[in-house]
């Protein structure tokens, strides 16, 4: 890993953040009419006195400084975004967009990271076994079924899982993340959290499994054709050692690269899963924001989604050289 590599990755991170901010700034201006029109229209359409409506409009005007030149507006917007000042939410007023998102974010990150890690690990193992000539027959029987299941996207799978395991059988709760909002951690609390998270996590794992298994199978088949695998066998190494240390270890490298790319899709998918399960994370927040046309909040969620994923990708990229010695360390 050279400084150039670190620099490039950091530059990419900031490019993503910049792009996200810019889109948030430009797109509302492409729509017909003054950008405040949307907010005013929204407030009027509620046909009622929204508490602090005037504050919101003032806030909006102040933030955008709509009389200033475009470039000044953009600079101010950029500056505000970077210090995470994303304005105030309409539907959660007087809460700021940032604080609403920060309340929801831990749920999403916990759910998404745990289930993605499981899907990634389990899927890679299944894929590796699929390509391995000596793996048990059960793997080859089960795998096609899993693959086909994985072709169904997160959200649809969530609906099916919800119907089968919650509504029909009643085994799992219909939605939410807890029975009572947790005040501190104890064993029953953790159990309750896991109980509620199980179905959303299951949907994410099932939907992701096949992708990782397929990728791993391809990478593994390539590795199995390599000369160093033949030499490992010739050296009289045990099958177990060859499988883990010589084959899977190497086939994982492209998988890690793919993980960085797939995170964006996974994040989008899990947002929709939250909608299906009323899970109080970013996805659910977003759904509410959309239903109440809370534009600041929608943009804020999009912004945070992008930043979170970009940050995870940055971390992955910086850790990658530890896995592959061919990329030079600092």
């Amino acid at each position: 890993m050279t400084w150039g590599y670190v620099f490039r990755r950091l530059a990419m991170f900031f490019a993503v953040v910049l792009a996200a901010t810019t889109i948030n700034f430009i797109v509302p201006r492409l729509a017909p009419g003054d950008p405040t029109a949307a907010v005013l229209e929204q407030l009027l359409s509620r046909g009622q006195q929204v508490e602090g409506a005037q504050d919101i409009v003032d806030n909006y005007r102040a933030r955008f400084g709509l009389d200033d030149p475009m470039l000044v507006q953009y600079g101010r917007y950029l500056f505000n975004s970077l210090r995470l000042d994303l304005g105030s939410s309409i539907s959660y007023f007087p809460q700021s967009v940032t604080s609403a998102i920060l309340a929801a974010l831990p749920w999403t990150i916990a759910l998404l990271s745990v289930s993605t890690v499981i899907a990634f690990g389990l899927g890679s193992l299944i894929g590796a076994l699929l390509a391995w000539p000596g793996s048990p027959r059960a793997v080859h029987r089960l795998a096609p079924f899993l693959m086909v299941l994985s072709a169904i996207p997160y959200y649809l799978l969530a609906l099916i899982v919800l119907y089968l395991l919650a509504i029909w059988t009643g085994w799992f709760p219909l939605g939410g993340a807890y029975s009572v909002f947790p005040n501190g951690f104890s064993l029953p609390v953790l159990w309750d959290l896991a109980y509620h998270a199980f179905l959303p996590a299951l949907s994410i794992v099932l939907a992701g499994l096949g992708f990782w298994a397929l990728g791993m199978r391809g990478a593994m088949i390539n590795v199995l054709g390599e000369d160093y695998l033949a030499l490992a066998e010739a050296k009289g190494l045990t099958k177990r050692r060859i499988f883990f240390k010589y084959a899977m270890r190497n086939a994982m490298l492209p998988q890690v690269t793919a993980l960085a790319i797939a995170l964006g899709t996974a994040a989008s998918g899990s947002v929709l899963v939250e909608v299906a399960f009323n899970y109080p994370g970013i996805g659910y927040l977003l759904y509410n924001a959309l239903r109440s046309s809370d534009y600041f909040l929608i943009q804020g969620v999009a912004f945070f989604l992008v930043i979170t994923v970009a940050f995870a990708v940055l971390v992955l990229d910086l850790l990658y050289p530890l896995l592959d010695p061919r990329i030079q360390r600092l």
């Binding site: 390599e226 160093y228 030499l231 050296k235 009289g236 270890r249 190497n250 010695p325």
Partner: protein, 276 residues
């Protein structure tokens, strides 16, 4: 115990195909004495690599349909897979063809050598292991520190030396060398071949060298076998074969060897006199 290390008789390897079988070797037979250097030559597809793979029981898709392989008096064809695994590198080792890609790129050289000991039930303390691997590397002319390097930090010749070091780690009685120098430049080729010859003599192992370069064989092996379309068409002391080849194919192989002979030059008519 007799002095015969390896006795191959009537070895036939076939690859089952949709329409009948493809015979990669037919009735191949030869034997090696302790410390003997045996060469197998032939062009690609002649069955020489198949013979080696059959010896290692590493045929992918092919099977030994008849014949016997006897190593140090023990019949190999009846061994089960686990017994065969333990025998690899302990009694019979392999120096591979593609040295460039034969080492795992993400493992240090030392770790790849250490695995051989670990999976053959030989355990050492940490520093003892390091010392043993260091010694092994010095025997093939590499610095002991090379064990801490990754393969991509080594040149082609160095990688092939690492492979040779691996092949003698457990002091086998037979080394199979599958075109070990075909990917190397001539100077490095000679270095590697000299190293291979030296360590082979040090541990007293017999060696089978596979190749397509008759000239290389001429200077390395004592006995030569010529393979052509899956059959061993000629076997004998290397000098006799060069002096008096019995088979047209062998003769062609010898005659097509490039040489610095003045007769072999194409000279433009008329230029010759002016130049002599």
């Amino acid at each position: 115990m007799s002095d015969t290390v390896l006795k191959v008789s009537d070895l036939t390897v076939e690859y089952p195909m949709a329409r009948g079988s493809f015979f990669a070797t037919r009735d191949v037979g030869f034997s090696l004495q302790r410390g003997e250097r045996f060469g197998l030559v032939g062009e690609s597809g002649s069955g020489k690599s198949t013979t080696i793979l059959a010896l290692m029981r590493m045929l992918k898709g092919g099977l030994v349909s008849s014949g016997s392989l006897e190593l140090n008096g023990r019949e190999l064809t009846t061994l089960d897979d686990e017994e065969y695994r333990k025998l690899r590198f302990a009694e019979m080792s392999l120096v591979p063809q593609g040295a460039m890609n034969s080492l795992n790129p993400v493992l240090r050289v030392g770790a790849q050598i250490a695995d051989i000991y670990d999976d053959h039930g030989i355990h050492h303390g940490r520093s003892e292991r390091e010392g043993i691997i260091g010694d092994l590397l010095s025997r093939v002319g590499l610095a002991p520190e090379v064990q801490r390097r990754y393969p991509h930090e080594l040149s082609g010749g160095m990688k092939q030396r690492v492979c040779i070091a691996m092949s003698i780690a457990l002091k086998p009685s037979l080394i199979l060398a599958d075109e070990p120098t075909s990917a190397l430049d001539v100077m490095v080729q000679k270095q590697v071949l000299a190293t291979l010859g030296r360590v082979q003599r040090d541990i007293g192992a017999a060696i089978i060298l596979i190749g397509h370069d008759m000239a290389l064989m001429a200077h390395f092996v004592t006995t030569l076998g010529v393979m052509y379309r899956g059959e061993l068409i000629e076997v004998g002391p290397v000098r006799e074969i060069f002096a008096n080849p019995q088979h047209d194919y062998t003769r062609m192989l010898i005659n097509s060897l490039p040489s610095f002979d003045r007769q072999a030059r194409f000279i433009k008519a008329g230029a010759q006199e002016a130049f002599n």
